[in-house]
């Protein structure tokens, strides 16, 4: 069999809830081993697109995964009750029986390297899910997605609710994962600088597809204006950031 170049082909995708159109006429392709970023303002339907790709919600149109696609999904957040008697190890055992595989995967998300860290290595496994910090929980979720060796990773806002250092660790981790053979990464983000650094392709979304292609060609003043409104500034150092903080008024 000839290897298919695309791991994912989407065309004419439409999602509606209660007669309310959330996504319309979305089409794009993801080449195997690529990294695609999905960007757009809040409420643009990014997470809904993910849920459609995963088959969690009803949709019309086509979502075609390659036959051998094995998806690992990292949800945006997990509301874990603090008193839930569930350790990280219990959680991993939902998916993997072999303890050796679990050690391997927590090492790959960097729990061993941070030896000074309070919950390093094996200790993290005996920690209750509800006691993890935001960054730790995110890495545990990534490790969980990596169990069973997926060839596609879907990240829903990998750094939402994580402090700056935690954010760097997560993106370092994603960067490391990119080096792996046959691992396609699709992630949602609203941080444009991150998109420029890590993605081969960008899908700009605001209910419908606004543009799709490599970051340098897609992320332009015009698309950003269309995406976020006029209030977006191209910064020095060619960093693109949606206008958020008042102190950035002087730029532009």
């Amino acid at each position: 069999m000839e290897p298919k170049p695309n791991i994912l082909t989407v065309s004419g995708l439409r999602v509606e809830f209660d007669n309310h159109v959330i996504l319309e006429d979305i089409g794009f392709e993801v080449v195997r081993d690529d990294t695609l970023a999905i960007i757009g303002p809040n409420g643009a339907g990014k997470s809904v697109l993910f849920r459609a790709l995963l088959g969690l919600i009803p949709f019309t149109g086509k979502v075609e995964w390659a036959e051998d696609a094995k998806i690992g999904y990292v949800p945006q957040k997990l509301a874990v009750a603090k008193d839930l008697p569930l350790t990280v190890n219990d959680f991993f055992h939902f998916k993997e029986k072999k303890q050796a595989k679990i050690y391997e995967v927590i090492r790959s998300v960097g729990f061993l390297e941070q030896a000074k860290h309070l919950h390093n290595d094996k200790r993290v496994l005996n920690t209750r899910m509800g006691d993890l910090s935001g960054g730790e929980l995110q890495r545990v979720l990534i490790a969980y997605a990596l169990l069973g060796k997926p060839n596609v990773l879907l990240f829903d806002e990998p750094t939402a609710g994580i402090d700056v250092t935690g954010e760097e660790t997560i993106y370092d981790l994603i960067h490391k994962l990119q080096a792996e053979d046959d691992l396609t990464i699709i992630f949602i983000s609203h941080e444009l600088q991150v998109v420029n650094h890590y993605a081969n392709n960008v899908l700009c979304l605001n209910k419908e597809k606004i543009s799709f292609g490599p970051p340098m060609t897609v992320v332009s003043r015009e698309t950003l204006a269309k995406l976020y409104g006029e209030d977006v500034h191209l910064h020095k150092h060619e960093e693109l950031t949606p206008h958020k903080h008042p102190e950035e008024h002087n730029h532009g």
Binding site: G55, L56, Y73, P85, L86, T87, F94
Partner: protein, 255 residues
């Protein structure tokens, strides 16, 4: 100790173990009241069984299974919250049950009577308990993954709706088993209280399940012995024993 008492303690321990183990999932699913309310659904089944001279456990089981399918279907196909649905089911069946149950049997149906437990009941309890442990262990990972995140479970192709139905049916079985022991009004307690007690003391799933099961057994055995010693009703004695464990657990709580 006479043979009859040993038999009762064994049956009680089985019911306690099964309801404790199954209840541990119910508490995590935040469905505690479902177990309690479901137990009331048993009443009309018992009433019909008594009228036609059938085994009350079977009558309870039939009523519970019908109600379970009803709740499961409606919670998938209706906008009303399952908890509200359960409330409707429960009051309706309690009312029907009260009308149907022959008056002399009413007290026994509501609060149970341990002296009425036959060998056949014992065998049914044993078979039911084995079935509950086997099936629950088989679906436990999927069930709990669904508790942590439905999306994550669905992304791993777990059929949440099917798992929930299986689980609710198991609850129906455990309630039917407990009904003769504790009556329709108190059976729910054995599903909830040991599990809540265990949750206070556990950090991991393993200790949680084991403690929940252990508190179920201990409550049943101690409760029956207390009832015998002081000549009081066994149902309330078992439930109050489990609640004593619950109160004590506050002092040993793991934060």
């Amino acid at each position: 100790m006479d043979n009859n008492l040993i038999f009762l303690l064994l049956v009680g321990a089985l019911v306690g173990a099964a309801s404790g183990y199954l209840g541990s999932f119910m508490v995590l699913k935040r469905m505690s009241l479902v177990g309690d309310a479901l137990s009331h659904v048993a009443l009309p089944g018992i009433a019909v069984a008594l009228t036609i001279g059938a085994n009350p456990i079977l009558g309870a089981l039939v009523a519970l299974v019908i109600a379970t399918f009803g709740i499961w279907y409606l919670s998938d196909h209706s906008e009303v919250y399952p908890e509200a649905l359960v409330g409707v089911f429960f009051t309706a069946s309690l009312s029907i049950g009260l009308l149907l149950t022959p008056e002399p049997d009413l007290l026994e149906a509501l609060f149970g009577n341990i002296d009425e437990i036959s060998m056949l009941d014992g065998v049914m309890v044993l078979a039911g308990t084995l079935a509950i442990f086997t099936v629950t262990a088989a679906i436990s990972k999927k069930l709990l993954l669904g508790v942590v995140s439905e999306d994550l479970a669905k992304s791993q192709k777990v059929n949440i709706s099917k798992i929930n139905l299986i689980y609710l049916l198991l609850v129906a079985v455990v309630v039917a088993l407990g009904v003769k022991f504790l009556g329709t009004l108190l059976t729910g307690a054995m599903v909830i209280v040991p599990a809540v007690t265990a949750k206070q003391l556990s950090k991991s799933l393993k200790s949680y399940h084991l403690l929940s099961l252990g508190f179920g057994i201990a409550s049943a055995v101690l409760g029956i012995l207390l009832a015998r010693n002081f000549g009081i009703a066994s149902g309330p004695a078992v439930v109050l024993t489990s609640i004593a464990f619950f109160i004590a657990s506050h002092f040993f709580r793991k934060k």
